[in-house]
Structures are given as C-alpha cells and as structure tokens.
Symmetry: C2
Subunit: 294 residues, 2 copies
C-alpha cells in the first residue's frame, strides 16, 4: 500500500493522468482498518483442516509424538491463531504461540512435559516469527554451519523440535506448511474468492470514476447474519502499518487462543464448498476465470 501511495504522489507531481487504487491481499490479515484481508479465509481454511489431519494421525497411535506446526506470519499471529478452530473437530492444539506474545522457552518446555506426560500426545502451533522478551527470533542460531560450511538456517519448528528432544527424548517432529497454506486452491473459501473478486472490480470502477490515492476497504457490519460493506479509505491511513492480533483473543496463560476468535473466523471459511477438481481428479486451474465471468 505504500508503493501505490508513492506511485500516486509521483504521478500527481508529474501531472500524469492516472488514477491509483490499492487492491489489498495478504494471507497475513494484517492491514489496518480492514476487517480481514483477501486470501486470509482460504489460507485459514487449509490450515485448520491440515492441523485436524495432523491431530488425528497422531491420535491413531496410543503413544504419539510432540508435533510442532510452523505457520506463516512473521509479525502477526492471525493465521496461527486460526489453528484453534480445529477445536470444532475436537482436534484443538494444546499450545498456540503468536508473535504478539513474548515466548519463554523454559515455560514452553514445562508445559510440553505436563501435556505429553498426561496425554502422550502434544500438538503445538506456532508462528514463524515468535521471539523472546528481548525481541530475538526463536530459531536456529546463526553460529551453526553445515557440511558445506554454509550458515545453517532453520526456522522455529526445527528449533523447538531440537529443544524438546534435547530435554526430554520425546519423539518430536515439525511440519512446515510452507507454500501449501498460501497457494491452497484445492479448498479455497468461496466467501474469500467472492470478496477478492468484488474488491478488484470495485477498485477498477472507482479508478474509472476518477478516484485516486485510496484502498478498497472491507468492513463487517454484522456477524449473524454475516454482512460486509466495501468502502474507500485513504492510502495514507493504511500504508506501513500493521494490524496485530488483539490480546483479548489470547488466553490468560498466554499459550492458546480464546473461543471468542471462532465467531470472527468462521464466516470467512463457511459456506458450501464448490468442487474445484475436474473429473480426472486434477485441480481445475481455470476455476478463478469462471468467477470472473460472473
């Protein structure tokens, strides 16, 4: 949004006739003033179901593992927080950590021990960007070099796995959902697609009407039934700002997400799933074009 803001200023200065409207999209859901961002619903839908699969896979063993799921989100924990909705399938993560809360490794280890010794299963969902109280990222140390004498880069999943294994010898593994959460086209949220396409169309119409220097914003008017409205907002108000997960969604022990988060997320993933797979079992990669036709 800062880029389009700067482009708009520059073109005005050059007296070049071109209208600039920002079209928001990010699975991180971190644009200020927006109720939610296009992309967040589809990423969150994939994530919740992937976490559910990981939970039940482990559940099929009497003695399971400590499973650590590393989820996208360097600065904000919206997507990671969504993992708590797997509770709707009785598959709630035992621990959820977001960047909005300082991470304490000792406290984490104590909690993992208590959970694993009781249940013989432990599911941890964690944002890639969590940090300690001094702001240091929780990840593999920069001092580690590999067999090629290259810096060994490792994310928070790899780090926490080693932390747990070093202390307890519990069977532990981590999952990087990586690109799949961002590129999910198999089970997109239909509501998300609808809103994303609408925002794009509105941006074009506003530009044609002569508006410039704005972003198309999305506001929630009511939750039951779910109703939204689109409006313009000045780019100067949204550029270079971050919408953090409110701490009211974080539980009192700072290691999970409150149930109040469900009613915020659920309308963004609900609705009858359309079939985006062809008869031969492959993804219909042109399904978005069909949405465009409407």
């Amino acid at each position: 949004m800062d880029s389009i803001y700067q482009i708009n200023l520059f073109l005005k200065k050059q007296k070049y006739k071109c209208n600039c409207i920002g079209i928001p999209k990010t699975i991180d859901n971190d644009i200020v003033f927006m109720d939610h961002t296009p992309g967040f619903g589809s990423a969150t839908k994939f994530l919740i179901n992937a976490v559910t699969e990981i939970y039940y896979d482990d559940f099929s063993y009497k003695k399971g593992r400590v499973n650590i799921v590393e989820i996208m989100g360097r600065n904000t924990g919206w997507l990671t927080a969504s993992s708590m909705l797997s509770s709707l399938n009785n598959a709630k993560p035992d621990l959820i950590y977001v960047p909005e809360v300082d991470f304490d490794p000792d406290d984490f280890l104590n909690k993992v021990q208590k959970i694993y010794e009781t249940k013989k299963h432990c599911l941890v969902c964690v944002s890639e960007g969590i940090h300690d109280k001094n702001g240091n990222l929780i990840s593999i140390s920069n001092e580690t070099y590999d067999v090629f004498n290259h810096l060994q880069l490792g994310g928070v999943g790899a780090y926490l796995t080693k932390l747990v294994e070093t202390k307890f010898n519990y069977k532990t593994r981590y999952f990087e959902l990586s690109l799949l959460q961002r590129a999910n086209s198999i089970i997109p949220s239909e509501q998300d697609i609808k809103e994303a396409v609408t925002i794009g169309k509105k941006a074009l119409l506003y530009a044609l009407k002569g508006k410039s220097g704005y972003m198309v914003n999305l506001k929630r008017i009511s939750n039951e039934p779910y109703k939204i409205k689109y409006e313009l907002i000045d780019l100067a108000l949204v550029k270079n700002k971050t919408k953090y997960l409110p701490l009211t969604y974080v539980n009192s022990t700072k290691d999970n997400i409150n149930e109040s988060y469900i009613s915020y997320v659920l309308p963004l993933i609900s609705g009858k799933q359309k079939n985006h797979l062809r008869e031969d079992g492959l993804l219909d990669i042109y399904f978005l074009e069909k949405h465009h036709d409407n």
Copy 2:
C-alpha cells in the same frame, strides 16, 4: 504381511482357532502382485495437486526459483513418479528422481543449470530414498552437528537445496510434503476409498468362511473401462517383498517419467469428488463411517 503370516503360523501351531487374513494398505504402492495398494490413490491425488500449486506459484514470478519437492518413498518411487501427472495441468516437473535409479549429483547440477538458465524456473520432484551408485543415501552428512551438539539430520530436499545454492546461487527452496500426503482426507480418491472398504469387508468374509494365511489381492482386469477384481493370495508369496517401479516408466535420460505412467495412475484418482467438508468449512471427520454404512 510378514507379521500376519507369522501370527497365522503361530496360532496354527498352538491349535488356536483363529483365521488370519492380511488387509493391505500403504501409500508406497509396493506390495508385490497387487495392481496398486489402498491409500496410494488418495496420496497420489493430493501429491499431484500440491505439485501443481507449487508450479503455478513459481510461474507467477518472471524469475522463479529452483523448487525441490521431497516425496515419501524410501525404497520405491511410485508416489514420486505420480508427480508427472501434473503435466495434465501443464505443470510437469522438469526433473523426477526415484530410488530405482542411481542418482548422480554432478549430472543433476548440470541439468538444473541448463533448465534454470533457459526457463528461470525449475521444478524437481524427488523420493526421500534416492541414493548414489554406491547405495549411499543422498542426504545431509552424518558429520554435521548443530548448536545443541546434536547430529544434524536432514533429508534429500535440504541436501539438494544446499547443493544447488552452493554451486549456482540460484534462489532455491525445498518442500517436505510430509504427513499431509499420507493423511490427506480433504481430497481423497473416491475409487481408493471404495476399494479400501471393499478389501476390508472381503477380508472379514473370507475369515468367517474359514480361510486363513492369505491376503486380499487386487488385480486390474481392464483399463478402459477400468475394472478390477479381488482375490486371495498366499501370504508366503507377498511377505517381505517389494514391488519396484518398473524401469519402463523411467525416461531414457533417467530424470523423468514416461507418459505411459498416466494410464496406470489416472483411473486410481478419477471420478466425481465427493464433498468431505461441512458447511462450516471444516473437514467432516466422520465421512469414512458413512462409507461403512453402505
């Protein structure tokens, strides 16, 4: 299958009245005499579509990366070979490596260079169990220790990524599809579910009829239309054996899979996808019970 074979022998010896029928299942598709194994179709369906998503994500950049997808299969390359079916979406991997073929790192690097310099994209799909001509696994050396002074374990994806980055400085990353390919319940193959449930039922019926010491086998009678039959096969014939990917499916330059593989795999993933998601967007974890009811 060896376990149930041994149990059957033991029970016979003890004159304990119990009939033993082996029920096959593995996403590895490596049980001898079986046309394909229950689980393979669903894993392969997830895999092909995940590879397609990874391909198109990179395609959205003019200058992309070397993307390396690490796929399950320690001894056989069936699942990895299936990645070639993303060609049906014009998203064919540039290179596919399976354990049935010795892996040559120098040859690999030459090919990656040629492909990346031409296309500015390169997609590699590789079985976790590939090895060099001396049988050594292609993975992070055992001599690497991390910040905890623990042995640094890394798979083939991590290894090949470092290999490419060390030589060329191309942007490279790897994906471990990990559990998601095995636990896929979001887009299972309906054909796979049907066959798996049928095999379970037949096993029970054969046991009740007094049969013991057999596995329920699945044979393909015709491909167009796809027709199969179920039969019993002596456990002694299948136990401790491995069905490898025939080299006739591997191309002449030993770095991809021939089109003839498509007609083998396609019937296992085709058919109208049922909706296994509830109206709230979450997985219907009881969908298999509904299959049982039929």
